[in-house]
């Protein structure tokens, strides 16, 4: 039922938040709709190395949350992109990652429940020199866990990436899946499936173009 409502809301370009808030709140909220991006390839695997680890070309996929599209890597040194993906690593356009003023933090809670970014939120910028990233790297750190036994990456439930874009606007992201087609692989999936179906991001996001910290 909740899902159906959401679909209808998305279809009309209205968020449930608007419907819910308009009843008891005076402030006018500009409607932002959630967009789902499917199967965004992020340095997909080319084979298995002799060390037993997946091999890949080491590419990064740049994405514009403003325009909802992939940005060519030739524009990596521009503010055209907001967020970039390379295997499980997520970069934000700012600090050592790009010329933008982007930053981010990981919010613990539900995507729909995050209507206003808390005033005391600690936005961080990427600093590759200190191995410190706005979206921290590693299993259990930010948005995923890696299970050494099943060799599967699972997004952590209840994690929202709150992003300040390259140009200083705000967006929120929930990573839904890391495997092709948005389908979670079973623990018993073949080695080939685990290898070649990974690094395809499915995520949903909401972007607030007016610069407000509300969604």
């Amino acid at each position: 039922m909740k899902m159906n409502l959401q679909k209808i809301a998305m279809g009309l370009g209205l968020s449930i938040a608007l419907v819910a808030c308009s009843k008891d709140e005076e402030t006018i909220v500009v409607p932002v709709s959630a967009i789902t991006v499917k199967d965004l390839a992020a340095d997909t695997v080319t084979g298995l190395g002799l060390d037993g680890r997946p091999q890949s070309a080491g590419t990064t996929t740049y994405y514009s949350l403003v325009d909802n599209k992939v940005i060519a890597s030739t524009d990596a040194a521009s503010t055209k992109w907001d967020i970039a993906f390379s295997s499980t690593k997520i970069l934000i356009n700012g600090g050592t990652s790009g010329p933008g003023i982007g930053s981010a933090f990981v919010y613990v809670g539900l995507f729909d429940a995050l209507k206003t970014i808390p005033a005391d939120s600690n936005f961080k910028t990427d600093n590759a020199n200190a191995a410190s990233f706005a979206i921290p790297l590693g299993s259990g750190k930010a948005w995923y866990t890696y299970d050494g036994l099943t060799t599967l990456v699972s997004p952590i439930a209840g994690r929202v990436l709150v992003i300040r874009t390259a140009t200083g606007k705000f967006a929120k992201i929930e990573i839904l899946n890391y495997y092709k087609g948005g389908v979670t692989l079973p623990a018993t999936a073949s080695v080939n499936d685990k290898l070649f179906k990974q690094r395809y991001y499915t995520f949903r996001y909401a972007y607030q173009p007016n610069g407000a910290k509300t969604f």
């Binding site: 899902m3 084979g47 298995l48 060390d51 995507f111 439930a157 839904l176 623990a187």
Partner: protein
């Protein structure tokens, strides 16, 4: 058959010569009725009917007729017990992990646990008289590890056939050969047992890391001497030696590139115990026991294009203890005991494999048994353990038996059990260079090590947990067991048991800081709280003089109390099938991983007076959670489960009058395979065996 056991043939010839001097032979029988004598529950000999705590006895006939070779084979067919895999085959008792059940051989503990698991495949069943399983905390008598219960394997010290030879052959070239000799004079009894077990192993998964699937050569021998020094004093010496070699050649092919590696493992396990028993009078006796055991394991992994990997573990345990039994009057009996333990471990996973880490324990215990009337027995016990490496532990226990009438008996027990922090939790010094260079430091030295690293400028952050690091406390469990035994009629009986265990101070690894590089640093803290609860039903029915039926069922619920509190407070999330997060509901919580809600086993038995027998055993275990796939670390309906399954085993055989007996059997008839979750369960296997028991030579004493 790879290696004919020549040594056994030689010893057979040698010993059969000696044995012509046989003096007497008494046929040993154990009945499964209430008259069976149990030693584990009270550390004194008590009839099963008079015990105040729930005990299961598995006798030699059941072990033999089921075709069980290793301890795991027979335990997995018991109510309330489940086999676990990973670091060898361990046993889960009433939902508690293998760490929490103490395994004894003739009352002395086995050591050599890997990640808390004692591999029960190490124990051959050839010369076992019986296995006693006590459910519920028993630390009041046995100290650490006896939190969920006690499994005591009692070898056959009775006078019996002077010579028994057994040979078994089965699928995967599995050869099991046994030789048992017994030599008895008026004051002297000797029993010797040799077992050789060789298997090619099986690979239900090509690059499985489970060692049960690997080729194994395993030899074990036990020797027992009992010497009656006088009619009041005797001396018992027990020795056991096991040597196990595993070699596994692994070839992993990927995209036309094959990586070869060779894994070699050698495990040696030695146990020696000497006991002097003396009876001062009809009401006073004492025993002095000394015990020493060493477990030594060496693993080597050679990969064609990688660094060789070597892992060494050497664990020794020495104990001396005295126990005195005093019968004050017909209604009141007391036990007093005290002793000391010296325990040490050397491992390549500690700071130096040459340095032995040591823990000394001094302990004392007492138990009082009061029988105010024929119908009521009350037992109270208390034990105190003092350790050099961690906090001391008191273990009290109270239990009672009320016999309403010969048909109905009620038992109730309440007690506290504990498990001492193990050496790994105290002393581990391990950095995983292969996966992110994270480190794990045992709690006993984590603060020192980290402070030293900090002085070198290698530490990035220290978490609040770092400042909480202190001497680990033992993990505690409070257990309650209530049992109702109902003898419905001479051929049927039913037993109902309710149980609950509340565990606190669970030791868990926690991140305490980071390196300057961001790599994690972990140590161990007492943080977890959990429970296991449920009920067990066991029934027996004798259909007629040939056929009988028995079965058992366990219903089990488990949970992590902190996780339940988090779910209730609305801070635990889960994901729906589209990947959208939502709050998790309490009714979605499935409890602790690797625990199944239902376990059922049924056995049909046929025995004919002519020595034929047949049995069919079915074991069902319902699904259990194995992996978390939504990162919330809480197991819910959406996580990864191993499917429930049924395994059916059958064996049949005949015993002839001339001492020869033959047996054939099929295990896992339906060929159920789950390589990921049940690496210890091969597909369908067949076996056949022959046994010869030399009959008494001179029986007219």
């Amino acid at each position: 058959m790879k290696k004919p056991p020549y040594i056994i043939i030689f010893l057979t010839l040698l010993q059969s010569g000696i044995l012509s001097a046989q003096s007497r032979f008494v046929k040993d029988t154990i009945d499964a009725s209430g008259d069976s004598v149990v030693v584990t529950a009270t550390r004194t000999e008590r009839k099963l009917n008079n015990l105040t705590v729930p005990v299961t006895i598995i006798n030699a006939k059941t072990i033999q007729q089921n075709g069980s070779l290793r301890l795991t084979d027979i335990l997995k067919e018991q109510t309330g017990l489940n086999l676990t895999s990973g670091f060898g085959a361990g046993i889960q008792l009433q939902g508690l992990n293998p760490d929490y059940t103490i395994i004894l051989i003739n009352g002395e503990p086995l050591v050599g646990r890997t990640a808390g698991v004692l591999d029960l495949n190490r124990i051959a069943l050839g010369n076992i008289k019986k296995i006693e399983i006590v459910k519920g905390p028993s630390s009041s008598l046995y100290g650490s590890e006896a939190m969920a219960g006690v499994i005591n394997i009692i070898t056959d010290a009775s006078m019996g056939a002077p010579l028994t030879i057994g040979l078994r052959y089965g699928t995967y070239n599995t050869v099991d050969a046994n030789l048992e000799t017994k030599l008895n004079t008026k004051n002297f009894q000797y029993q010797g047992f040799i077992n050789s077990y060789n298997t090619d192993g099986y690979s239900i998964r090509p690059n499985s890391n489970s060692r049960v699937t690997t080729p194994i050569d395993r030899y074990s021998t036990t020797q027992q001497i009992k010497w009656e020094l006088s009619n009041k004093t005797n001396f018992v010496l027990n020795t056991r030696y096991t040597n196990e070699r595993i070699q596994n050649e692994i070839a992993v092919a990927n995209n036309g590139v094959t990586i070869y590696s060779i894994g070699k493992e050698n495990i040696k396990d030695v146990n020696v115990s000497a006991t002097l028993n003396h009876r001062f009078s009809k009401t006073l006796k004492t025993s002095l026991r000394t015990y020493t055991t060493t477990y030594d394991a060496v693993q080597n992994l050679l990969t064609i294009n990688g660094l060789p990997y070597r892992d060494v573990l050497n664990h020794n345990f020495k104990r001396i203890e005295n126990q005195t039994d005093w019968e004050l009057n017909k209604k009141l009996q007391a036990i007093f005991g005290a002793g000391a333990v010296w325990e040490g471990v050397k491992s390549s996973r500690y700071d130096s494999e040459k340095l032995r880490k040591q823990n000394d324990i001094q302990f004392a215990f007492t138990q009082w048994e009061w029988k105010p009337s024929e119908k009521l027995t009350l037992i109270g016990g208390l034990r105190f353990d003092q350790n050099t490496q961690f906090a001391s532990a008191y273990s009290p226990k109270l239990s009672m038996l009320y016999t309403l009438n010969p048909q109905h008996q009620f038992r109730f027990s309440i007690g506290q059990g504990f498990k001492a922090p193990d050496f790994r939790q105290l002393f581990l010094d391990f950095t995983n260079a292969a996966a992110g260079s994270y480190s794990v430091f045992g709690s006993a030295q984590a603060q020192q090590v980290i402070a030293r690293l900090d002085a070198l400028g290698q530490i990035g952050n220290l978490f609040p947990n770092y400042y909480l690091l202190k001497a680990l406390k033992p993990e505690y469990s409070n257990g309650m067991h209530f049992t109702w035994d109902w003898k419905i009629n001479p051929s049927s009986s039913l037993s109902v048991q309710l149980f609950r265990n509340d565990i606190k101070n669970l030791i868990e690894s926690q991140q305490v800081g980071t390196y300057i590089t961001g790599a994690q640093i972990y140590s161990y803290l007492n943080i977890g709280r959990a429970f296991t609860t449920g009920f067990e039903l066991e029934g027996k029915h004798i259909i007629n003089s040939n056929w009988s039926l028995n079965g058992g069922y366990q219903y089990l619920r488990t949970g992590d109390k902190d996780q339940i509190a988090d779910i209730k407070s609305g801070t635990v999330y889960t994901k729906n099938s589209q990947g959208y997060s939502r709050l998790m509901k309490l009714n979605e919580y499935v409890g602790l991983p690797n625990t199944s809600k239902h376990k059922l086993q049924v056995k049909i038995n046929y025995n004919s007076p002519k020595g034929y027998y047949l049995n069919l055993r079915a074991i069902y275990r319902s699904k259990w959670a194995v992996n978390n796939n939504n990162g919330n670390e809480v197991f819910d309906n959406g996580d990864v489960f191993a499917s429930g399954y049924v395994a059916i085993n059958s064996a049949a055989g005949k015993s002839f009058k001339n001492g020869v007996s033959i047996q054939g059997g099929i295990d896992n008839i339906s060929n159920y395979i789950d390589a990921t979750n049940l690496p210890n369960l091969p597909g369908r296997t067949f076996y056949t065996s022959i046994k010869y028991q030399l009959q008494k030579i001179n029986n007219n004493k």
